[in-house]
């Protein structure tokens, strides 16, 4: 049979949405010495669902939502002296009831760098995988 012939068809697994949630995480400004990095983990309680398939969108500060659970960050803070911070923000579950926003920033220059305060807004829609009902 052709799945495309049907609006819904119980011969095929579906994926059930169990919830949606907005998470907001604020990171304070900080300083990184040459070659150093910071890893900050902010944990949030979410509705219990082991093995959830989560659809994630991330918004940084007053920007727009970006599709995906991983956002790479890069900041050139000034050209004199040359400073550059690279890193990422990643959102994932650490347990059935907890979700983590993980921020990693690295100073990849020989100069001390100050990174700005940041606020991330995360939209999480959670789905119950069909094989773990």
């Amino acid at each position: 049979m052709k799945p495309s012939d049907f609006i819904l068809n119980s011969d095929y697994l579906s994926i059930a949405q169990t919830g949606r949630q907005t998470i907001t995480a604020s990171i304070a400004a900080g300083t990184l010495t040459p070659g150093s990095y910071t890893e900050q983990n902010l944990d949030f309680t979410v509705r219990a669902l082991a093995g959830a398939v989560d659809r994630i969108m991330i918004k940084k500060d007053s920007g727009e939502f970006q599709v995906g659970a991983y956002q790479r960050l890069e900041i050139y803070t000034s050209d004199t002296p040359y400073t550059r911070i690279v890193g990422f923000v990643s959102v994932f579950r650490t347990s059935a009831t907890n979700m983590r926003l993980q921020l990693v920033l690295e100073n990849v220059t020989p100069n001390t760098v100050t990174y700005p305060a940041m606020t991330f807004t995360v939209q999480v829609t959670s789905f119950r995988p069909p094989n773990v009902f």
């Binding site: 049979m1 697994l13 949405q17 659809r55 991983y70 890193g87 069909p130």
Partner: protein
């Protein structure tokens, strides 16, 4: 007939709903790379899924998963082409030494193929009105080399899924965006979702095509 808001319904046969046409689960040890499994489908499935370091998937994370710093590199990736689903696990820290994964697949928007049933993988209900089933607004393919946008004008942020297809025919779930501030000027690459449109800013990724699914359901 009165116009309805699809969000008012858990499932609504006025709109197409997702059907999973492919499922695979397994585990990889550190260093198992480019492990191919034939999917036996007459098209390249749009795959998505989760990976986890705990066997019960309590620490599930979206595929692909990356933790990349100067000191440590941990990645789990999954891709599909016209014959195989490929998975890889790298971790230069060595531990956790095993990762578990579940991969699901949708049929691409330009396919009308015959596909075998997948309901045999379900353990209880295929449809269950205790939960919501996403109502598809639009699915399709855009050029990955050119920035473009698709209007929805919903007035809210809808759920959106995107897959990137390379010139070699491998298709990956797009779970990544880039944000940069260079001398005070901000830039973004990836797929942006606003209350009025979906913007494909993906020219920086150098992909051939981007497959997308936009839902009436809110993100």
């Amino acid at each position: 007939m009165a116009k309805v808001d699809p969000r008012d319904f858990l499932l609504n046969t006025d709109y197409e709903m997702d059907k999973i046409v492919y499922f695979q689960e397994g585990s990889l040890n550190v260093g198992e790379y480019d492990i191919d499994t034939p999917h036996n489908l007459p098209f390249t499935p749009l795959i998505f899924g989760v990976c986890a370091f705990n066997e019960d998937f309590s620490d599930a994370r979206s595929v692909p998963y990356e933790y990349l710093t100067q000191q440590t590199s941990i990645t789990f990736t999954a891709s599909a082409n016209d014959t195989n689903v490929r998975v890889s696990y790298t971790n230069d820290a060595g531990t956790p030494d095993k990762i578990y994964y579940r991969i699901y697949g949708f049929e691409p928007s330009d396919s009308r193929a015959k596909v075998g049933a997948t309901s045999k993988y379900g353990k209880e209900f295929i449809l269950n009105t205790d939960y919501n089933y996403c109502k598809l607004y639009q699915k399709g393919v855009v050029d990955g080399q050119t920035a473009t946008s698709i209007a929805h004008n919903f007035g809210y942020i809808p759920q959106v899924l995107v897959w990137a297809e390379s010139s070699s025919g491998w298709v990956d779930p797009l779970e990544r965006s880039d944000w940069g501030e260079i001398y005070g000027d901000e830039s973004t690459s990836g797929v942006t979702v606003t209350t009025t449109e979906v913007q494909f800013n993906a020219s920086l990724y150098n992909y051939d095509k981007l497959h997308y699914r936009i839902y009436y359901d809110e993100a």
